[in-house]
Amino acid sequence: MNLIVCIKVAPKVDQIKFDEQKRTIIREGVENEINDADKNALEAALKLKDSHGGKVVVLSMGPPSFDPFLRLAVAMGADDAVLLSDRAFGGADTYATSRVIAAGIDKLKPYDVVLCGEASSDGSTEQVPPSIAGWLGIPHVSYVSTMEMVGDKVRARREITDGHEVVEVMPPVLASVQLGCNSPRFPDFRRKRWADKEFKLKIMNIQDLGFAPGDVGLEGSRTEVTGLSRMRSPERKREFIVGTEEEVAKRLAQIVKG
C-alpha cells in the first residue's frame, strides 16, 4: 500500500500569548509540536502498513524549521518525508494551503490512502482535508477512528454524533482521522538518531510544484483576516457553596430549579 500522511507542525497552544495593544499573536519563544491529530493519522497509516505492507510518506507544508518534526515522523516509522517549502507559500489560508499540499501529493502518485488529522490544534478549521480531497478529485471520509483493507477496498469506521458508520470505498481515498482514536507510537530513538543525522529530507518548492506566485500563499488565498481579538471564554462565577449538608442541598436545589 502507498500511504501519504499530511502533517501540520503547529505552535503549542498553551504557550501562545495575545498582544492586547497591537492585537497580534505573539509567536516568539513558542515551541512547536506535531499536531496531535496528525500523530493519530500517522499511527493509523503505520498500522495499515503493519497489516498490509507498503510505504508511508509524510508530507508537510512549511518553513525549513519544520525539518526536525518530519524526521521525528520518520523515527516513528515513516519511510520517507517531503517538505513543501517556499517563501511564496507563506500566509496561506485553507484554500491555498490545501492546493499546495494536493500538488505535493500528486507528485507522489500513485497512492492508495491519504491520511490527515481531522483538525489542527491552532486553526482547527477542519477544512484542509476535505479541500485537499477536492483538489485531488478523490472521495473523503471524515472522523475515521479505525481502518482496514477488505479485499481491495478500504473499510473505515467513522465516529459521528450519537453513533458510528462503517464506510467502504475503493482507493484512492482521503481519510481524516479523529483526534485520540489511537495511541501514537513513541519514536524509535535509534531510528531517530539515523533520521536526524543521515536521512535525506526531500524539499519541493514553487517551481517543483509548477505554480505561479499568484496561485499560492497569501496571494493565492481566497480569504483574508482583517482583525484579531481575544475571545472571552465564558466567565464562570466560581461561587463556592458552603454550609451544612442541608444548607448546601437547599441552595443547589434552588439553582437546579432555576
Binding site: 503549542k12 504557550q15 515551541e31 500523530k39 495511541s183 507510537r185 513513541f186 524509535d188 530513538f189 538518531r193
Partner: protein, 381 residues
C-alpha cells in the same frame, strides 16, 4: 499447550540482563502468593526461564508495581524485578504497552513531564514562596513530575521550602527548567530516549554546581541511583528524609508541637522505593518521633515487609483501581489506632488519599514533610 520450540532469544536476553539470576528459581510460587498486585509472578518467571513467550511477555507484566516484596520472600534470591524489567523491554519492542503509559512517554518528550502538565507551568507550585529558582546553591531540591503538578502533592515541596528556610539551608530548585527524572520511561522498558533524557538531566544538574541532590520522591532516587550511572555521573542523591535526619542530628531543626499541643498517634508507611530499594527505614521514624507529642504506632507489615500502595512501576498511569492494595493499607492504619498515616512518597500519598475515600476512613494522610512543617493535626490545608 501444544508443543513448541523454546524461544532461545527470550531466554538469552533475560539471562543477560539479570546476570543469570533466574536460573536459581525453583518455582516454589512464594512470589505469586505474596504479590500485592496479583501478578502471576511464578509463571512469568517460568516462561522466561524456559522460553515460553506467552507466559513471559504478558499483559500482567504491567500490573507489577515493582515493589520487590516478592524478592524479600524469594528463598533463592532471584532478581525478580530485574526479570520483569527485562521482559518489559521486550514487550516495549513489540509495542505491547499500555496506551496510557505510551501517552506519558510522549508527554515526557514534549513537555518534560509524565504527569499531565505544561512545561511553562512547572514552577507554579513555588509562586509566592521564598525559594531560589535557578541560581547556584549548595543543595538542589528536585521535585520530579507529580510533586510539581499535582495540587495535593505540591504541598509537600511547599512544606520542604518552609522547613529548609527555617533551618537556613542553602538550596535551589530548577523551576521550569526541571525535567522528568525519566522513571516512567525506564519502567516502560524504553532506553533510547531514556539515554538522552538522563544525559540532559546530568548536564543540567552539573550546571547548577550543587554538591548534592535532594529528592522529594523516592522514585526519582530509584532511577538516579540504579539507572543513571550507565549514562554519566551524578552528584550524591539523598531522599529528603535522609537530609532532614542529618539536619536533626546537627541540631538545626526545631520541630513544632503537633496538633495544637494535643499529641498525635501516627503510623508510618514505608514506601517501597525508599525502604526496600533505598534501605531508608529509620530516618523518617526518627523525624516523626522528634516532634513533641508524636507517638508512632507501627503498622503490621512494616519496614522491609511493607505493603505496596500500588503506585510504582508505572502503576500511577495504569488503570488498576480494583487491584490497588492502598485500601488494605488504610485498614491496617486504622487497626494501628493512628489518626494520621505518614509516608514519604508522593505516589503513596495519592493512593492512600484514594484509599481513605474508598474505605470511608477518617484517617489523615500526610507526607512526613507536611507533618514536620507543622501542617498536620487538625485540618492541615
Amino acid at each position: 499447550m501444544s508443543a513448541q520450540a523454546p524461544d532461545l532469544e527470550l531466554r538469552r536476553s533475560v539471562a543477560e540482563s539479570t546476570d543469570g539470576s533466574l536460573a536459581a528459581c525453583y518455582q516454589c510460587g512464594t512470589c505469586t502468593a505474596i504479590c500485592p498486585m496479583n501478578v502471576p509472578v511464578r509463571s512469568i518467571m517460568r516462561g522466561a526461564q524456559v522460553g515460553i513467550r506467552e507466559l513471559a511477555v504478558t499483559d500482567a507484566l504491567w500490573q507489577c508495581a515493582t515493589c520487590r516484596q516478592c524478592e524479600v520472600a524469594c528463598p533463592r534470591g532471584v532478581d525478580i524485578a530485574g526479570v520483569i524489567h527485562s521482559l518489559r523491554e521486550l514487550s516495549y519492542k513489540e509495542r505491547k504497552v499500555p496506551a496510557k503509559l505510551e501517552g506519558a512517554l510522549w508527554r515526557v518528550y514534549e513537555e518534560g513531564t509524565a504527569w499531565e502538565g505544561k512545561k511553562n507551568e512547572r514552577a507554579r507550585w513555588a509562586e509566592g514562596l521564598d525559594v531560589n529558582v535557578g541560581k547556584p546553591a549548595k543543595h538542589l531540591l528536585y521535585l520530579d513530575d507529580a510533586a510539581s503538578f499535582d495540587p495535593r502533592l505540591q504541598r509537600i515541596a511547599q512544606s520542604l521550602v518552609k522547613i529548609f528556610n527555617a533551618a537556613e539551608v542553602d538550596f535551589a530548585v530548577l523551576g521550569e527548567k526541571e525535567k522528568s527524572s525519566g522513571d516512567e520511561v525506564y519502567q516502560m522498558g524504553e532506553d533510547g530516549f531514556l539515554e538522552e533524557l538522563a544525559q540532559s538531566n546530568i548536564e543540567a544538574f552539573k550546571g547548577t554546581g550543587a554538591e548534592d541532590i535532594i529528592t522529594v520522591s523516592p522514585h526519582s532516587n530509584g532511577v538516579f541511583r540504579d539507572v543513571y550511572p550507565r549514562y554519566g555521573t551524578l552528584p550524591p542523591v539523598f531522599h529528603y528524609t535522609e537530609f532532614l535526619s542529618d539536619l536533626l542530628d546537627k541540631g538545626l531543626l526545631k520541630p513544632e508541637r503537633a496538633n495544637g499541643g494535643e499529641g498525635l498517634t501516627v503510623t508510618y508507611h514505608d514506601p517501597c522505593y525508599l525502604g526496600r530499594y533505598g534501605g531508608v527505614y529509620e530516618e523518617p521514624r526518627k523525624l516523626l518521633e522528634s516532634i513533641p507529642g508524636v507517638k508512632i504506632s507501627e503498622l503490621d507489615d512494616n519496614r522491609s515487609n511493607a505493603l505496596c500502595c500500588g503506585g510504582g512501576g508505572g502503576g500511577m498511569f495504569v488503570e488498576s483501581e480494583g487491584l490497588r492494595p492502598s485500601h488494605r493499607r488504610v485498614s491496617q492504619a486504622e487497626e494501628a489506632g493512628a489518626s494520621v498515616m505518614a509516608t514519604a512518597c508522593p505516589f503513596c500519598v495519592l493512593n492512600f488519599e484514594d484509599g481513605v475515600k474508598t474505605v470511608g476512613s477518617s484517617i489523615k494522610i500526610r507526607d512526613v514533610a507536611e507533618i514536620f512543617a507543622g501542617t498536620a493535626g487538625r485540618g492541615g490545608k
